[in-house]
Symmetry: C2
Subunit: 785 residues, 2 copies
């Protein structure tokens, strides 16, 4: 499919996450790839398909597939929700779940959210217009943040959520308006042995045989309007829903995916690429390995801890695998050298023309300086980030303390994430986070990071003082360890020798009110930069924020996730109602969070200065790059709605190996065996009996399970509907392939592939194995197996 | 290529290791597969190609490729020889080796052997004829052994080696006559980074990019006759040699391989298959893991130990991988159930006819009984086998003691392996074994097995007594450990605390003569059932012999390998000259070997009884099976010359994956990186420059590196010439694929493949990278790169 001469290269037919407003510019490419419909309509939010594509809050995409508010998404997007929906003693991730009636559909709790985008409009002028040129960088950052908050405030009303998203590194801002649904229920999820078939062995790999799908339903008040969960809420009747096409697609066929990709790094400078390759990713891998090792130890000593930690484990393992694969991809593609060559060419191009030199020259130099400005404290700052990231309880305490302070301000002046608009979600998350909390793991991780920080000469003096250590100079390893041990007892109480239990004894917690949550309760570990993540979401766990300031900017209107996480739900909830001066400073957690407060504030101040500078400089880098290389026509992903298109196709991963683009039921049986390939006997029996029904692909001679395309997706696209040339649902995107794992940085059109679950496998499984006839009918098909 | 209707199925066109005398029966299959030549000539030993195909002594095959005695074989067949050929400070396995002149060709030492088969004739009547029917089983075993020795004795003369090999489980015996060459020199070996590219990661796997080739040359006396090494020996002028065809072969082309496959198990009973699956292979894997772990620990503590242990490590790792793969293959193919069904069908067929019942019925039942007869002592016997297998020094001591006893007998009455005919080889091996001995590993392994045996209630009383422990009853773990510790000091001297050094102090050895060998000297660990293995051979290390008796029978004329292995070469050599009553019984090693002697004798006696019974019964099983399933027309491999044929072809290893049958130079570059993919810069540069020369495959657009065929090979075939339809050399067989790893037990025509190195890659490497112009010229080509 060489499209040279049409002004579009084959590469650009597959690379690209197009904003809805950009879809009309893709008419040629869409037609060449095989799209049959109306390109104009394809870019509209008020008709299908885009009008049916919802976000689950940053971490996943879902789409309406019936007039009764039925949503389809990935299994790995509903595992965290299943954990919220299950009763004590249940393990719905393991067993799967099928609601046979509406009444059996399970609420995912108060944290459940679904967002449907209704409008996207450019507000660049509102955000950047008439900013004084001489404004200091920190002030610039504050001004931009304030304007974004204003735009959001003007936009929001009950049931409507808004955010201002930055595009092209801050060159453009757009206001995104979304309908926010708050009553989300689980309809169906296959067992983990289907949804997560192959687990980490198959994760990121092809050939794949996962049935990575699940169904939710959105409920609303009887008036049809968004409302919190209530037993007598009714199914939402969406204006638009997708139609399932059971004939599917095959090799070479056009496909497109609409969804909410979270974040890519294709506009990063060479300096940032190199830093990721040499510092950030290796560091993240090391820290994630520590977290996973700790989880494994804890789960080994206490089998009950395993399921509690599972969603976090999956998410961290996925992130680590991604990081490792990205490093390998860097090495394979030589991206660091590429990026250096690209930036060098850009600079040469800039230098070659006086006007360009005038406009971009100094900015490019200053950009490098600003990007290096945090290097001296980077190592310490990473530890401070992991300190909070690794401990749900510390994160809760810090949220409580910061929130109490912010509440003393006028709403418009509060930090993003701590405004009135964030109240309900904060409380919902306080309520729903209980099920992922594991005290032994929390304790070990917090102790680990405190220990590493305590002995550093650049440890914040406030933290040293809280630990009872000298605020400056060297601290010997044993003194540091002793102080941390003592702190652990203050925070968690005395641990049993084996340190393997569910954690702290009740009596060691401040006696406020009787515990009301389940005993070994839990907290969802997810933290989206936007704070939009639904509670318990297991996928795409973002790493701790790096203190660039700018990243906070991208997330403005959707702040650093204030996951509260003190052990007892009633206690945590009560803390939310206390004014700053009433917080129990004698509670070790609160006192630690208070000690850290000036540290975080100082980091934020540095971040503001850096963010303001980057808000000046990065748009110039992007402008220069776009002028120098006009093919770079789309912005990095930022959790806004995007469309990507291409065709179904396999690839050649390496010498002498060819991957076909479709797998079959027989491949499931071929892999079957011990976990993670523990397909159920009934599942295998239906395969052995070749009970294909109407879902067979006659060319393939079997029911297709998963398929490949050359589309361009990333985390956040999970669960996105895959559509054929007529805009009908033929599958769900759920993963990328290993060879394309560095795609967030550079998209290699030869080998980067998106992995989809085939809609025919979904239907076949519902019909032949789950016997979910009601669901098959609701999807417009006739059960026959 | 369906050949139904021609009386031959596609399966049988690829499965089958045909004896030369059977080649004419394959005329139809050969023609159908694409063979163009004279089928009659193809089966003859006195013309090419078979007349040019030599054995390296059971573990590998080689073939003459020039009129000047040049042999080509696999790199992994010459690694052990390189170790023998190198001077102190050299690491020829790592660096590779190219002799630029004849004078630079290096002797592999006194143990080097090449065998060229000149005659194979049936001697079944001589071996089995007129054996009294009522002969007891042990006596039958002795009689058969004596007749085999007689046949060998009649056959052998200087420079001629003979053996009697058993076929079809002892139904037939054939006398194999071979010319024995004793002056073998290394001509060329690529570095390990070429010959073993991919190491264990790629081992048994496709796609493969190993340049698994190496060149030797046979030298003879000036009279043209076989002679031990002498500086003025001259290159042998073989009567026949193969011609290299630089046009190679491609997908679908006919290929055949002639070589010396060592051993297969396709005629095993269901009971034996099940025992392998449930007891023997799992047990071997566990013991091999222990050995590898020990090697790794030792090499970690003492980097100098790594290279010394490397050939043994490679061989054991290869065996363990094979065992694991075989177990997986069993599971995948359901071979245990298949074998049970097959044997059940056989029994039903036998029971359905009175005459068959009369002839086979009781024999089949008794066969099972005999096969079960060693079960009670199996566990202990395995430990006794690993005790000797794991310690080179113990094996040497036992050889010295047994040999001294045997030498008191008439030559014809001595055990196989201890006759006059074995003397030269035993001494050669005593001389050449020095370079693989690593005392720390030897000590740890012997101590481990002694410890496990000592505390068993069925530990032989003789061993208990030698350890100073009660000869019967329970022995407490600590008492056992203490006794073994004391024994270790008697055997090896006091060990340093770290136990990481080269081992024993000189002074702790009996002061016979000054040490003459290198200080941290070594012993080849290889042990072929035939005792024919060349010293230092790294490949196809057979496991310790199971005491079936029958296995000894198959190897008669080529006995259990008496590898001698006391630390100092001069001491070991001196021991060989001592009569039994002069052996130093106060040497701990000799006293341990003497204590074990009655144990080994008792095992041998049980083995004789079992072997005699199996000699009666197994031929009946085979006869019944052949009558029941006439397609089973070839005997299990037994290190005699065989031919296998088929075509070049890839396969589908699993759902959605296709393997092309050829890899390319570009695939080498694709894999290049850290060890084991450490291709040299010059090698990669030649690839990057696309410096293909005349070796390019135009269809492939590159130089092919390795290729696949559906041929039927096993260990021992390594290095076998791969021939095209005209009988010209187009490659070398060097491995099987993972999916076919259980092929020794059941050949799965759909996925079992042979992996060959392409002759064009050999030529390209010699020409473009090694700049070995002389060799290229000697191979009939014109250097051009």
């Amino acid at each position: 499919m060489l499209l040279l001469g049409l002004g579009i290269s084959a590469a650009w037919a597959v690379e690209g996450m197009w904003e809805p407003s950009q879809v009309p510019t893709q008419a040629t490419g869409l037609a060449a790839a095989g799209f049959k419909g109306d390109v104009g309509a394809l870019g509209r939010l008020d008709v299908a398909p885009l009008g049916a594509v919802a976000s689950l809050g940053g971490f996943c995409t879902a789409s309406f597939v019936s007039a009764e508010g039925l949503l389809v998404t990935n299994h790995h997007c509903v595992t965290g929700l299943l954990q919220q929906a299950q009763a004590e003693g249940e393990d719905l991730i393991d067993t799967g779940f099928v609601a046979r009636t509406r009444g059996e559909e399970r609420s995912v709790g108060p944290g459940g959210r679904v967002y449907l985008t209704t409008d996207i409009r450019d507000v660049t002028d509102d955000v950047l217009g008439k900013l004084p040129k001489k404004l200091g960088d920190a002030a610039r950052d504050e001004a931009i943040e304030a304007r974004m908050k204003q735009a959001v405030a003007r936009c929001e009303k009950p049931g409507v959520r808004c955010r201002v998203a930055s595009f092209y590194g801050g060159a453009n801002y757009r206001l995104v308006t979304q309908t926010e649904f708050q009553d989300v229920r689980v309809v169906m999820a296959p067992p983990d042995s289907v949804g997560n078939y192959g687990d980490e062995i198959d994760n990121w790999h092809w050939p794949r045989h996962a049935g990575d799908f699940g169904f939710l339903r959105v409920y609303v008040g009887k008036d049809g309007k968004s409302a919190p969960y209530a037993p007598d809420n009714v199914p939402y009747r969406p204006a638009h829903h997708l139609t399932v096409q059971p004939k599917g697609v095959g090799p070479g066929d056009f496909v497109m995916v609409a969804g909410y990709p979270g974040s890519t790094d294709r506009w990063r400078t060479a300096l940032e690429v190199e830093r990721a390759a040499t510092v950030e990713l290796p560091n993240d891998i090391a820290e994630e390995q520590f977290l996973l090792d700790t989880f494994a130890e804890v789960a080994k000593a206490d089998p009950a801890a395993g399921p509690v930690l599972e969603p976090a484990r999956l998410s961290i393992a996925n992130g680590m695998f991604n990081a490792k694969g990205t490093l390998e991809g860097y090495a394979r593609t030589g991206i660091v050298a590429q990026a250096k060559a690209r930036d060098a060419a850009l600079r040469a191009w800039v230098a070659a023309d006086p006007a360009r030199k005038e406009r971009f020259g100094a900015a490019l130099d200053e950009l490098d300086t600003v990007l290096r400005s945090g290097d001296a404290t980077r190592e310490r700052d990473e530890l401070l980030a992991y300190l909070r990231y690794g401990s749900d309880l510390l994160e809760a305490a810090e949220t409580v303390v910061l929130r109490a302070r912010e509440r003393t301000k006028k709403d418009a002046d509060r930090l993003p994430g701590f405004q009135e608009r964030d109240e309900a979600r904060t409380r919902a998350r306080f309520a729903s986070m209980q099920k992922g909390l594991q005290l032994t793991a929390d304790r070990r991780i917090l102790g680990h990071y405190l220990g590493r920080l305590a002995v550093r000469s650049d440890c914040p003096p406030e933290l040293r003082a809280w630990l009872g250590l000298p605020t400056t100079g060297e601290v010997a390893a044993d003194a540091g360890a002793k102080a941390v041990d003592a702190a652990m007892i203050r925070l968690y109480g005395a641990a049993g020798k084996n340190d393997s239990g569910g954690g702290v004894a009740e009596g060691t917690l401040p006696p406020l009110a009787p515990a009301s949550g389940p005993k070994a309760a839990s907290v969802g570990r997810e933290r989206s930069p936007e704070g939009d993540a639904a509670p318990g979401a297991a996928s795409d766990r973002p790493r701790p924020r790096r203190s660039s300031g700018e990243d906070d900017r991208e997330g403005a209107g959707a702040p650093s996730a204030p996951t509260p996480n003190l052990y007892r739900l009633d206690y945590r909830t009560q803390l939310l109602d206390l004014a700053a001066d009433k917080l129990p400073a004698d509670d070790a957690w609160i006192s630690l969070a208070m000690a850290l407060r000036p540290v975080r504030d100082a980091q934020r101040a540095e971040g503001r200065a850096r963010g303001g500078a980057l808000a000046r400089l990065r748009p110039l880098y992007v402008e220069a790059m776009k002028a120098h290389d006009p093919a770079r026509a789309y912005s990095d992903a930022n959790s806004t709605l995007r469309l990507t298109y291409g065709t179904v196709q396999g690839y050649t991963p390496r010498d002498a190996v060819t991957y076909a683009p479709q797998t079959t039921l027989e491949g499931i049986a071929e892999k079957a065996g011990a976990w993670p390939f523990d397909a159920a006997p009934a599942h295998l029996a239906a395969i052995t009996a070749k009970q294909y029904g109407p879902y067979v692909d006659t060319k393939l001679g079997s029911v297709p399970v998963d398929f490949l395309s050359d589309l361009d997706i990333t985390g956040g696209n999970s669960g996105s509907p895959t559509l054929n040339a007529a805009g009908e649902l033929v599958g769900l995107a759920f993963d990328g392939n290993y060879e394309g794992i560095a795609s967030d940085w550079v998209f290699d059109t030869k080998v980067a592939r998106t992995i989809h679950v085939d809609a025919r496998y979904v239907l076949w499984y519902l019909d032949a194995v789950a016997q979910a006839d009601g669901l098959v009918t609701e999807l417009g098909q006739t059960p026959s197996l």
